[in-house]
Each structure stands twice: as C-alpha cells, then as structure tokens.
Symmetry: C2
Subunit: 427 residues, 2 copies
C-alpha cells in the first residue's frame, strides 16, 4: 500500500472517492455508536455482582479487629481495608488511608486542602501565592487538568513518550521554580497513551530536588492492576522516594472503580507516615468517617471470592476482544498509509490515535456526522487545547465488539478522508 503522502493528485482523488462512498454508506446506516467513555461494560459489571451477596442481613459486620463497620468511627478507614488496599498500593497500614467511592474526589480534596491550608512543610497555603504551577504530562487526563483550571493553577505541559514524561524538562521546572508545587502522573497504562513509566523515569522523579520544599507528585495509579496483555511492572515510587531522601514528596491514589464498580468502589491513598498524620490532622474536620460497609464488602469479596488478580483476569477476558477489535480494524484500514498512528497499550482503558497534525478536529467532525461519538479533540490537553490538533482518545471498554467494529471502521475511513483533504489543501 502506498502512503497518501506519496500519491499523485489523481491517485488521491480516486482514493478519496472510494472513501467518501464508504463514508456515505455508513451515514445511511444512521449509526449511533459511542467510543467516548472509559466506562466498564455491562458484562464487566455483571461479573462483579456476586460482591453484592457478600453482605446480607445475617452478616457479622465487624472487621477482624472488631470494628463495627455500621457505625461511626475509624476516620482513616477500617483497619482491615487499610491493610488490604495498602498491600495493593505497596504501602504499610500507617501509610494508607481508605476513603469514599472516588479517588478523583480525594485527589481534588488533597489539592483543595493544599490550596486552603498547605501540605506538610508548606510555609503558607498554596492559594496564598499569586500563582502556583503544576507539571502536566501531555497527552493526559482531562479531570486532572480541570482541577488545575478550577483552582487557577498554571499548567506546564510536558510531552510524554513510551517511557513517561520528559524528565529533563520536568527537572528544569521543578528544580528552579519555587512556585511549581505539584505534578500529575498516571504512571501505569496512562490515560490516554496507555504507557507505563519506566524504572528510569520513576527513579528520576523520586530523585528530583524540588525548589519548593512542599512539592507533591500526585501519583494517580488508577490502572495499577488493569492488565490486558500480560504483566507490566511499575516501580513503587514511595520506596524510591524514601531511598532518595524524599519520602514526603509523593501522594499515591488508587481505587476499585475499574476493579469492582465504577463510582461505587473504594478509593485509597498512600503516602509517607508523616504525610498521613498531617492529612489526618486536616481530614478530621471534613468527615466523621467514610463508608466502612462498602470497605468491608470489598475486602471480603476481593479476598475470599475474587482475589484482585482473579477479578482482573476476568475483566481482561472481556476487554481483550475489544482492544483486539480496535487494533485489527486500525491495522487493516490504516497500516502503512500515512493517515495516523496509534498506541498499543498492554492494559488500562484507552488507545490513543495520533492523527496527522492539524487533522484531529476534522476527523472528529466527520466521525460525529456519521453517528459515532468519541472523546472530543483537545480533551487530552489543558484547557481542551491540543496545540498540534493531533490526539484522539479511543475508549473501547463500553460498547460490545459488534458496535466497536463499525465504529472503528468509520473512524479509520474518516482519518483517511481528513488526511487526503489536508494533502489536497496543501497541494
């Protein structure tokens, strides 16, 4: 197959005519397909339903330390749950807080408290600076960027490759600017690229010498066990930070939103013991305790009936055919044509399509007009602005394969049309 870039005007016009014919056929089908949302599918949720039998009216609701999960108390979470999720995060009991259903909410909360009161070691609340800045690896997660936007935090965009974000750029900012207070990371199966930070990147992050003594890495490890194609290892950044003499530099977050149920799972937080004590001194003002019944339900289900690894294998079995379908259609339709490239993540929830620069918005337009909804262009960048108009996020998890295939075919056709349109416009 010839690359579109190598075709003559005639060849391009012929190819375009064929593509437009296919496009019209799809349009006539009046499709309504959605590859926008990183939601688990009904099949995945059904698979988790046995968790709902773990607690019934006959259940003894005390954890193994005798705490009644039904009553107030245990601000940092049910001890049994702290131990369980701490093991998942790679933290000890004293380094772990188990919270409510949303880890995103606890990230927001940590940031909000930092703005209002500061973190351990702050001279003043972050909100008292004229301006503070966060390192934002791109492409990245719109909800992280949204929080910075909401709080008026400047976002320093740092490009990510298959090993992680560009450490030279990060060092330059973090080590020379006292107003750089934090950094967002999705270190494993990152949203949206699907890459996992290499050992080198994790070690270099842990060895940063921040100008701000209250700099924090927000380590959103949402996809820590979300393997689809074999195992992928990520270094424990808290361990690395301790070795580097920076034990307080990292806040780790995780949740079961994509292990058990999305939005009805359990969030958890890991950090140095000093950070945990400091956090406790703040969160005691904001709640009496988080939902311990759901903690108990999770621990008992994941321990006895499921086993995290076992549950994640079942998720992978449901997700793999969907990822396969995306890779299959993209390879078949686009391989070697110069109409864009894509990531091949080994886990997580997303595949990223790198369109030819300046065509992502047009591809999305074409796709949308054909009844296929995808995450809008720019969502991967601060303020929804992708300067190269390049990145499009594909979320294969929710639709069944029989919807995913035509959706991806539409997508591939549109990527080619947009490529040809751009080449013709340049000619």
């Amino acid at each position: 197959m010839k690359r579109y870039q190598d075709m003559t005007a005639k060849e391009l016009a012929d190819a375009k005519a064929v593509l437009l014919e296919r496009y019209q056929k799809f349009k006539d089908m009046k499709l309504s397909l959605n590859i926008a949302r990183g939601n688990p599918s009904v099949q995945q949720l059904d698979m988790i339903m046995p968790m709902m039998d773990v607690i019934n009216s006959d259940t003894d609701c005390r954890d193994k330390y005798g705490t009644d999960a039904r009553n107030y108390g245990a601000l940092l979470g049910l001890q049994e749950a702290r131990e369980f999720f701490g093991e998942l995060l790679g933290t000890k009991l004293e380094e772990t807080i188990v919270v409510g259903a949303s880890s995103i909410n606890f990230m927001y909360d940590c940031l909000s408290r930092a703005m209002l009161k500061g973190v351990l070691g702050s001279d003043k609340p972050w909100g008292k600076y004229d301006k503070i800045k966060f390192i934002c690896p791109v492409p990245g997660y719109d909800r992280h960027f949204g929080m910075c936007e909401f709080f008026g935090i400047d976002m320093i965009q740092v490009q990510t490759d298959e090993e992680g974000p560009d450490m030279d750029v990060i060092r330059k900012y973090v080590e020379n600017d006292e107003t750089v207070k934090g950094m967002w990371c999705i270190p494993k199966f990152s949203n949206p690229l699907g890459i996992t930070y290499s050992d080198r990147v994790v070690k270099e992050l842990a060895n940063l010498k921040p100008a701000a003594k209250d700099f924090r890495i927000f380590w959103d490890n949402s996809y820590m066990v979300h393997h689809i194609y074999g195992d992928v290892q990520l270094l424990n950044i808290l361990d690395e930070c301790k070795k580097a003499g920076n034990p307080d530099m990292v806040y780790m977050f995780g949740s079961t939103s994509k292990i058990t149920m999305a939005g009805s799972g359990i969030g958890f937080f890991g950090a140095s013991e000093a950070n945990i004590k400091f956090t406790e001194s703040q969160v005691k003002y904001e709640t009496i305790s988080w939902d311990k019944m759901n903690m108990l339900r999770h621990v008992r289900f994941l321990k006895s009936q499921g086993g995290v690894e076992n549950v994640m294998k079942k998720h992978a079995e449901i997700l793999r055919p969907k990822f396969d379908a995306v890779f299959r259609v993209l390879s078949r339709e686009l391989e070697g044509k110069g109409a864009g490239t894509w990531t091949r993540p080994k886990g997580g929830y997303f595949i990223t399509f790198m369109a030819n620069d300046g065509t992502a918005t047009r591809i999305n337009e074409l796709v949308k007009a054909c009844g296929v909804t995808m995450t809008g262009p720019g969502a991967t960048h601060p303020f929804h602005h992708d300067p190269d108009d390049r990145y499009l996020r594909i979320a294969p998890s929710f639709p069944p394969v029989e919807e995913l295939e035509p959706a991806m075919e539409v997508f591939a056709v549109c990527a080619q049309i947009a490529t040809i349109e751009q080449l013709e416009a340049k000619a």
Copy 2:
C-alpha cells in the same frame, strides 16, 4: 427537698459526706461507661440490617429512569434518589443533590468551595477577605465550629433558647456586616439542646436582609425525622426564603446516618434551583459521581421495606427507654436541689445538662475519675471554650439502659458534689 443554695454549712457538709460515700462506692466498682458519643446502638443497627438484602447478585440495578447505578454518571445523584430524598427535605428534583455517605462532608465541601471560589453571587472567594464571620448559635455542634476554626472563620456566638437562636442579635450582625457570610443551624432537635426552631424564628431567618449578598444559612437538618416523643413540626426554610424573596440564601443538608447506618448512609443537599446549578458547575471538578449503588439500596429499602416513618418509629422504640432512663435518674437525683437543670427534647440524640455556672469542668473531672466518659465541657462552644463553664452534653443512644442508669447516677452524684464544693468555696 431543700436546695443546696439554701442549706447551712453543716447541712452542706453532711450532704457532701453522703454523696462522697456514694461516689466512692461507684469508684470501687471500677466502671467503664460511655455517654459521650451520639452513635446509634447495636440494636438500632441490627434493626436496619434487612437493607443489606435489598441488593444481591440477581438485582436489576437500574433505577426507574433506566440509569445503571453500577456505572459512572449522574453527577447530582440517581434521579430516583434525588426525588426520594428531595421529598424528605421538602425540595423538588431540580433543588436536590444526593451525595456520598456523609452530609458533614458535603457541608465541609460547600464551605471549602465557598472559601476557594465563592458561592452564587459572590464578588470574590470568601477566602480572599481578610476575615469572614459565621453566626454560631450556642450551645452548638463541635464539628460545625471545627470547620470554621480550620478555615480561620471568626465565630459570632449567639445564645439559643427553646425557640431557637436570638434573632435580634443575628439581625444586628447579618444586616450590618458584609463580612458575615454564613450561619450554622441545626433547626430540629438541635445538637446539643434538642430544641426545634419555632415558626417565628424560621420566618425571621428567611426574612433577613443580609449586608452580604452572598450570605448563606447552612441548615443542617440532621434530625428531621428523628422523633422520640410524638411529632414536632419545622417550617420548610426554603419555602419561607422564597416567599421572602431570598431563595438563594439557604443550603439545606440531611443524611440517613441516623435513619439507616452511621457513616454508611446517604447525604443530601437542597437549595434553590439556581444554587443547585451553580453547585453543579463546581462539583463537576471534584468527582465523576457519588456512590449510586448505596443510593439505590436506600431508596428501595426505605420505600418498599421500611418507609422512613416506620423505620424511625423502630428507632424511637429503642431510644425512648434510654432517654426515659436519663430523665428518670436526673429527676430522682437532682429535681429541686439547685444542682443543675436539663433539657427534655422530644427527639434527636442529645440531652443537655446546664450545670451551675463554673462547675461543668469539675463535674466532668469527677465523672471521668469514676470511669464514666462523657463529651468534654466546652465541646458545645467555639474553640471548645464555654465561657460560663455550664453545658454538658449527654448522649444516651449508644449504651444499653443497664449501663446508662449507673452512668447517670454517677453523673448526678458528681453534679451535686461540684455544686456543694462551689458553695463551700464561696462561703
């Protein structure tokens, strides 16, 4: 019975000797009793356990509008839950948000967002003022005061009587000081007095003409349906605010923490439609959605199996003998003796003891030395400082009656000893 205040020195000494003998006997019993915490008892929690059977692995988890409670989405809560809890609050769907397990947490969150970003109609975030102030009816709830303390908000203490807080004082501050931004209220079965705001007080609150256009009443209606001795009515403040042309002035909060399970219940928020829209525009940054499975569980249980009123009757049956026991012991031991008075609430979770001024701390010391734990003196006031050293909160809900009786007897003996000690010191 003669009042201690009317006794001669000899009579006081004789009475004290008898009391000290009783005190010593209690001390020798090495009691370990707790009347400190407003926690539901195990009996109450057991009564709610059938809620745990409402959702099992076979349950269809879509609400009646078809929303799958197991997945992300519905930022403002499952519609069926918004309708249900809105009815409880006296708000329409568009005036209701259903949140996570803790209404205290949502109060904190509303305050935190107000500090960082302001509320609807704010010229600037509350945190950008040199100082803002809150009206704090006293005696009141330590967690409300704690939030103000945490955020550095000045607390204006306003005395509460059986109708509610002193409206003349409130008007003076709210209508003349632009930095008075908010007010805490527990309008029904208030913590700790157990009083319910009269219609006059609710109407006068609704008719305030605040100097600050972004003044908010934080209406913590935690005990809205928590009747123990017959029905008590409270006006709907949102309705009154609308009538008064102040629809945006109130934030209403409620939860099922003491309807179903403490800490594993459902929190909800009611306000004008404009406030809800504004709140949505902020909370969209902080979470994807709250735990809708727990919402579904609650709605299905409280609708079909329980019925809020029915459940609350069962709670009342468990709580009434405990409140009875407190009243019985206090009456028997203290009536007419001039050693303190106490409230007789018709619902809620607390009884307040008004000691003779300057003796609350001493009573608590004596009680503690005898193995009885109660809420510390001062907890009812900002910064844990009760200027008159008068108020002690009794929480009868958790211990069984057979522990409550001796605890209250110890308490009554200590109140008398402290009274005599004070009279002797003055003599």
